[in-house]
């Protein structure tokens, strides 16, 4: 029976160690071991994007990454997006544009969109839709989400 492995990572800017079994996904490690429950589980097979986190700046679905694969990596979760009590422009724009209903998809959308805005300050609507194609929302409709990302992008350029 394989034992637990010690994993050394940086999560939201802080050096973080945790112990997990190799079979545990990064999503399970974040939620169940580290109590970072902002990252959501939808499908657990890579389709819905609710579990999106950044690893070394790239968005990926944490349900398709093993916790042990986070060794030496820099992880950003939704908990690391706001600066203290100040919401990130994306979070603010999602609220103002009512870009959520049940909210389960929201952390994934915001983390994915942050990765986009970190590399492209002025994405077109088509760029945004393509970039967010790996994130599903079953409540809101995508128009409000896209508008919120556009608004945040404008805010961040100002």
């Amino acid at each position: 029976m394989p034992g637990k492995v010690l994993v050394n990572t940086t999560i939201n800017g802080e050096a973080t160690d945790f112990r997990c079994e190799p079979r545990q996904s990064l999503l399970e490690c974040l939620r169940d071991i580290l109590q970072l429950t902002g990252t959501k589980e939808g499908c657990n097979d890579g389709n819905c994007g609710a579990c999106t986190v950044l690893m070394d700046g790239r968005p990926l679905t944490a349900c398709l990454v093993l916790g042990v694969e986070a060794e030496g990596r820099n992880i950003t979760t939704i908990e690391g997006i706001a600066r203290g009590s100040k919401l990130h422009p994306l979070q603010q724009a999602f609220l103002e544009e009512a870009a959520l209903q049940c909210g389960i998809c929201t952390p994934g959308f915001i983390v994915s969109a942050k990765a986009l805005l970190d590399r492209d300050k002025n994405p077109s609507e088509a760029d945004i839709r393509l970039w967010l194609a790996n994130n599903l929302c079953r409540c809101t409709g995508y128009d409000k989400i896209v508008r919120a990302v556009q608004k945040a992008a404008a805010e961040m350029r100002a």
Binding site: N44, P59, V68, A133
Partner: protein
């Protein structure tokens, strides 16, 4: 998911040594196929060997053709400026597998090794004449990619062997390639049919052409006769239509929720024609 041990070796030698101790080991690249299959109980292994730390598998280099390490994630292939300028069809395909998050992880190596009939990378790699570099304890061997997949989910690798990389030969300036797939959505779906083609022109005449299809046979299907039918001819509409018809007639699709046999055969001809037209434009031919 059942329990297993995990290791992330830093060299091929170490990887081969670990594999020799673990006869039921499986290899991990981006995990976007294998982790899903393990969770579903379709794969039973006690040892997962992560290939992402092996330098040779991370190589993406364009000197004397193009070498794509088996563990290079799609986003690197998609964003690489040399790949985009010299092998735009490969860049395109790396940008259409899954979505942003999947492309952060998914590799061409995993796509080909997983041997799904619907794999998107395999047909374009066949069209572009890729070869597969493989290593085992007995040494290295090279296999043309059209011989790599042997049945759904099966390939030529023996237990203990590792796919190192794909090599795509250098192309003339008048060579063009294209992969087109049909899916009901704009992105994030499995091909109903896909067609990957490459056309090399010389003085306005087809010097060579290679055509491969996805999702219409047990393995990604290379149709040499379709490309060969164009050789020595100017790529007119009739010549393209004939090649597309040969590709269609070689397809042996099944009916499933994504499409019927008739629909898939029809799509084979349409997509092959459109892919050829686009490849010819890329090759600098007028079409």
């Amino acid at each position: 998911m059942k329990s297993f041990d995990y290791a992330a070796p830093r060299s091929l030698a170490e990887a081969l040594r670990l594999l020799s101790f673990h006869p039921r080991a499986r290899l991990l690249a981006g995990g976007t196929d294998i982790l899903v299959q393990m969770r579903a109980g379709r794969i039973d292994t006690d040892f997962l060997l992560d290939t992402k730390g092996i330098p040779e598998l991370n190589e993406l280099k364009s000197a004397d053709g193009l070498t794509i390490g088996a563990a290079v994630p799609c986003f690197r292939i998609h964003e690489d400026s040399r790949v985009r300028s010299k092998y735009p069809a490969l860049s395109d395909v790396a940008g259409l597998i899954g979505g942003t998050q999947i492309q952060s992880r998914a590799t061409f190596g995993g796509n080909v090794c997983n041997a799904a009939p619907s794999a998107d990378a395999t047909p374009i790699l066949i069209a572009q004449g890729a070869t597969c570099r493989i290593i085992g304890t007995g040494g290295q061997r090279t296999v043309p990619i059209e011989l790599f997949c042997t049945a759904p989910g099966k390939n030529v690798l023996k237990q203990g062997e590792i796919l190192i990389s794909f090599h795509i030969p250098a192309k003339s300036k008048t060579t063009g390639a294209q992969y087109l797939r049909f899916i009901p959505r704009n992105e994030m779906d499995i091909a109903v049919v896909g067609a990957g083609v490459e056309v090399a022109l010389e003085n306005g005449v087809v010097q060579s052409a290679r055509i491969a299809l996805s999702a219409v046979a047990p393995v990604p299907l290379f149709v040499p006769a379709a490309g060969d039918s164009m050789v020595g001819k100017a790529p007119s509409a009739e010549v393209i239509a004939e090649a597309a018809a040969i590709a269609r007639d070689a397809a042996t699709p099944i009916s499933d929720m994504r499409g019927t046999v008739e629909y898939r055969r029809h799509l084979c001809a349409v997509l092959t024609r459109r892919a050829l037209e686009a490849a010819i434009v890329r090759a600098g031919g007028k079409n």
